[in-house]
């Protein structure tokens, strides 16, 4: 079969039948902005950012819902396209309380913009998604002048009635990503568009608080939200001026082994996200434990020094003392009662390397096969 081609910004590209213009472009690393598309879910076509120009056509077309066809010629950043995107961004910004100072932004360079924001950051009213907001990025990229856009108040109060997720409707751009994340990716079916799609609200259950709906706090919607309408309760406490280090690792709760990314500031985990939609085994999904259950790491109840029991009470000791007691006790018990009078329980929470060391210790040092873990329980 002859391969069919589409031409995007002068690049001749092959496509598979059924692929949309957006999919072909993204597969080839051609930038087309989107605010509503969520990988793995059906498109909502709501944000209007992905418009492109098709040669010899008067109207602009949304790349996310238009299938590629043979010999189609596409321009992704023509003047017409840019103006349309600017208008779309302006409309989205005017829908709510987007006070991240992009609106005052007038200066020509990013640095002065940042400095200005940092100065203003004494208030906690500033959108917590600042610096991590796709709408803000696009407004900057397309140099949208927003000084004259009035801030509109939201008709729905902010919801903080659960321990993990803050829902700030005043920043919601009704892109629908959260709905897709909840219904098509996690399939928890907790949230939906309100009855009247233009009523301007994403509702949980029959418009109740998340905690009273079917929500299981997987946080998929938070990760999907392009703006500051859904945020982690914990992440609003981050300090904007201190660098955040990100580390990819594996969740330590269940056997799925989700790939996660820890955000660390001042030696404290402040946030956990998935490692990304393209990464197995979880493809961007997490559950409530993996995403929000990290308080234990920094708990004040963590053990910080060895302890030895004296007169029936555990007392703090040095490592030297503790290791010495353990080693000499093991030696004497082994001598008196034999190797098989000692048992070792290693752990399903240990790394492979640690489990290996534990069984090597039992077998090579204690000379017993009394080594097990609690997998059975």
């Amino acid at each position: 079969m002859k391969k069919e081609n589409i031409i995007i910004d002068d690049n001749k590209l092959e496509f598979n039948s059924g692929e949309t213009i957006l999919e072909v472009a993204h597969r080839n690393n051609i930038f087309i902005p989107t605010l509503c598309r969520l990988k793995g879910a059906s498109p909502t076509g709501r944000c209007g950012m992905c418009v492109v120009e098709i040669k010899d056509s008067d109207d602009l077309t949304r790349a996310c819902i238009t299938p590629a066809s043979n010999n189609m010629i596409i321009y992704t950043e023509s003047l017409k396209v840019i103006n349309k995107r600017k208008k779309a961004i302006t409309k989205l910004l005017s829908m709510g309380n987007h006070n991240c100072a992009i609106r005052d932004f007038h200066a020509k360079d990013w640095t002065s913009f940042q400095l200005k924001v940092l100065k203003k950051d004494a208030t906690d009213q500033l959108c917590p998604a600042w610096g991590d907001c796709e709408l803000q990025d696009l407004a900057y990229k397309y140099q949208v002048q927003t000084r004259d856009i009035p801030i509109s108040e939201s008709s729905f109060p902010i919801e903080r009635a659960n321990p993990f997720i803050i829902r700030d409707f005043s920043r919601c751009i009704l892109c629908g990503r959260c709905v897709k994340a909840c219904r098509e990716i996690q399939v928890n079916n907790a949230i939906d568009f309100g009855d009247n799609e233009t009523s301007g609200k994403i509702i949980a259950g029959s418009d109740v608080a998340l905690k009273d709906s079917d929500c299981v706090f997987c946080g998929e919607c938070v990760e999907a939200c392009p703006v500051g309408a859904l945020v982690h309760e914990k992440s609003i406490k981050k300090q904007r001026s201190v660098k955040i280090e990100k580390t990819r690792t594996t969740c330590s709760f269940c056997g799925v082994g989700c790939q996660i990314e820890l955000s660390v500031q001042n030696n404290k985990i402040i946030n956990i996200n998935s490692a990304g939609r393209d990464i197995v085994p979880n493809n961007g999904s997490l559950c409530v434990k993996g995403r929000f259950g990290f308080d234990f790491v920094n708990s004040s109840e963590r053990l910080t020094s060895p302890m030895i029991k004296k007169n029936g009470k555990l007392e703090t000791a040095t490592w030297e003392q503790a290791i010495d007691v353990v080693a000499s006790k093991f030696i004497s018990i082994k001598k008196e009662s034999g190797s098989d009078s000692i048992g070792v329980l290693t752990s399903a929470r240990f790394t492979n390397e640690e489990n290996y060391i534990a069984q090597k210790f039992a077998r090579a040092v204690l000379k017993t096969n009394n080594i097990d873990h609690c997998a059975r329980l």
Partner: protein, 527 residues
């Protein structure tokens, strides 16, 4: 798992049994639910009306502890209706005739009597499963934590082989492992009868290999004790000392009152953990360890994928990495264990473990690899047994139904099953440090049907005492649509009302897994 997590979404039929996936493996449950959206048929066979049943087409409710019976019933129907995969059976399996003979008597009517699942439903569901091209079986501890746990697992393997679902994308028999690195702990020889990669300790060649690798003589060929036996021997005074790391048997063990007595009877108990757990409190020496965010290494997930763990923060106080602590003890005992870092340990693992041989930290930097992975250019193994089974041919096991060790009677009229809830993990040492998780799941409860509550004359949320022959706990009743008349469910996470004070420590004779999923209890007003 014989197959990969990604595979689940491509199955034609999914049979999920003894797995409350939405609460215990939430992300895997999304793969199942997405498959359902795309048209996969989901069959849930579970004593509770778990959430997954809302996404499924079929829910069958078996009486607790009667899994072998329904599985044999399914096979009876499949053989009788001639729906089994003859070619697969001929080419790849042995002892089919034995199986055939045994399941002959498991007619749908007979099975209905044992399991409570109607004969019609058994016929209908067995047909659906057998007629699917790709049938995926998922199970978890609802299948294994029984005195007949090993036989339950073998029965599921029988069913899968009978339908020719092994070695097939979207098929397979897939146990979902509970704790994050159970797979790895087993792979690494954290078991009393095998070294790494399941190499047997009574194989002279294997032992010799390790004696050379470790530079020691006379490694023991005597199989060691499993955890539950260690507790038993401790009570009798035959086991003098235990070195417990990162485990909390004072909450997770069956028949807790007995476990506590046993541990207190030890001459010397060492506990190495990140918190002062219930078990650490009674230790002679407590050693503070690092948690996952403070160490480098690897975990192996339930689909055998070896993945990196990376250090992100520093540990509190003088807490140390677990491997370092063990090495320090070993060295002081006169055997030098000296490694620069965990990667050096991993290299040693590779040397002695054929299934891990081809995996290097460098290779898994971006994405984990699934063992067996014998060479450095091997892509890993997403599906097991595509050509042959580990032993060559797949063996059918003819298995008869056996009653659970304890059944309800006049004095203890309810059946109790235990498990987990979404918001907590195991004994709660980690999740209960989270205010948020505690808000969403603050305390223990006794899940019960509204019929039973009315019959007993209680009210929803009433504080009650639940008693078994071994102990009693106090908790609030919680009427739930998940519950079925006559059966209670209690999560085992909570030390204050530890469900395992009630459970039966009776073991599966082979896997030595205690029967945590069935025992007999009664409910009464607190004194």
């Amino acid at each position: 798992m014989t197959n990969s997590i990604q595979d689940i979404e491509t199955a034609d039929v999914i049979l999920a049994t003894g797995t409350n996936t939405t609460e215990n493996h939430p992300v895997i449950s999304s793969f199942i639910k997405r498959a359902c959206l795309k048209g996969t048929t989901l069959i849930v066979i579970d004593p509770r009306k778990i959430k997954l049943t809302q996404h499924g087409d079929i829910w069958l409710r078996q009486t607790l502890g009667t899994d072998i019976a329904w599985i044999n019933g399914f096979m009876h129907v499949i053989i009788k209706k001639n729906l089994y995969d003859k070619e697969f059976i001929k080419k790849r399996t042995e002892d089919f005739e034995e199986l055939k003979k045994t399941v002959l008597k498991y007619t749908p009517e007979y099975v209905e009597k044992i399991t409570g699942i109607s004969a019609n439903k058994i016929i209908e569901t067995a047909k659906i499963f057998a007629q699917a091209k790709k049938g995926c079986i998922l199970y978890c501890m609802g299948i294994t934590q029984h005195t007949c746990g090993t036989d339950n697992v073998k029965s599921l393997a029988n069913l899968s082989m009978l339908c020719g679902n092994i070695g097939l994308p979207g098929g397979g028999v897939n146990p979902l492992r509970g704790q994050n690195n159970v797979q790895g702990a087993c792979d690494m020889g954290g078991l009393p009868n095998v070294f790494t990669g399941y190499q047997k300790i009574d194989d002279d060649n294997v032992r010799k290999k390790y004696e050379t690798a470790w530079n020691v003589t006379e490694l023991s060929f005597k199989p060691g004790l499993v955890a539950t036996q260690m507790i038993e021997k401790a009570e009798k005074g035959e086991l003098k000392s235990l070195y417990i790391m990162g485990e909390n048997p004072m909450v997770s063990d069956p028949d807790l009152n007995h476990a506590e007595k046993a541990l207190k009877n030890l001459d010397f108990l060492v506990v190495q953990d990140i918190f002062l757990t219930e078990t650490a409190k009674i230790a002679d020496v407590v050693l503070p360890a690092n948690c996952f965010a403070e160490k480098n290494g690897t975990f192996s997930n339930t689909e055998r994928r070896v993945q990196r763990v990376r250090k992100a923060v520093n540990a509190p106080g003088s807490a140390k990495e677990d491997w370092k602590i063990i090495c320090d003890i070993a060295s002081l005992m006169g055997y030098s264990m000296d490694y620069a870092d965990p990667e050096e340990i991993f290299e040693e693992i590779r040397e002695t473990t054929p299934s891990y041989k081809g995996i290097t930290w460098k290779r898994i930097e971006k994405q984990g690899l699934q063992w067996p992975c014998p060479t450095e250019d091997h892509p890993g193994t997403p599906i097991l047994h595509t050509e042959q089974f580990t032993r060559g041919k797949g063996l059918f096991h003819a298995i008869e139904h056996q009653d659970p060790a304890e059944l309800p009677d006049k004095n203890y009229p309810f059946m109790l099953t235990t498990g987990r809830v979404l918001y907590h993990y195991h004994t709660g040492t980690m999740t209960m440090k989270s205010k948020g998780l505690n808000t969403l799941s603050p305390e223990c409860f006794v899940e019960i049907s509204s019929n039973d509550v009315t019959k007993l004359g209680f009210k929803d949320k009433a504080m009650v005492e639940v008693l078994s022959r071994r102990g009693k706990i106090k908790a609030k009743l919680k009427i739930s649509s998940k519950a079925v008349d006559g059966t209670l469910f209690i999560p085992f996470h909570f030390a204050k009302a530890a469900a395992n004070k009630l459970t039966n420590a009776k073991l599966d004779p082979i896997a030595k897994i205690p029967e945590l999923k069935v025992c007999a209890v009664k409910i009464q007003r607190p004194a």
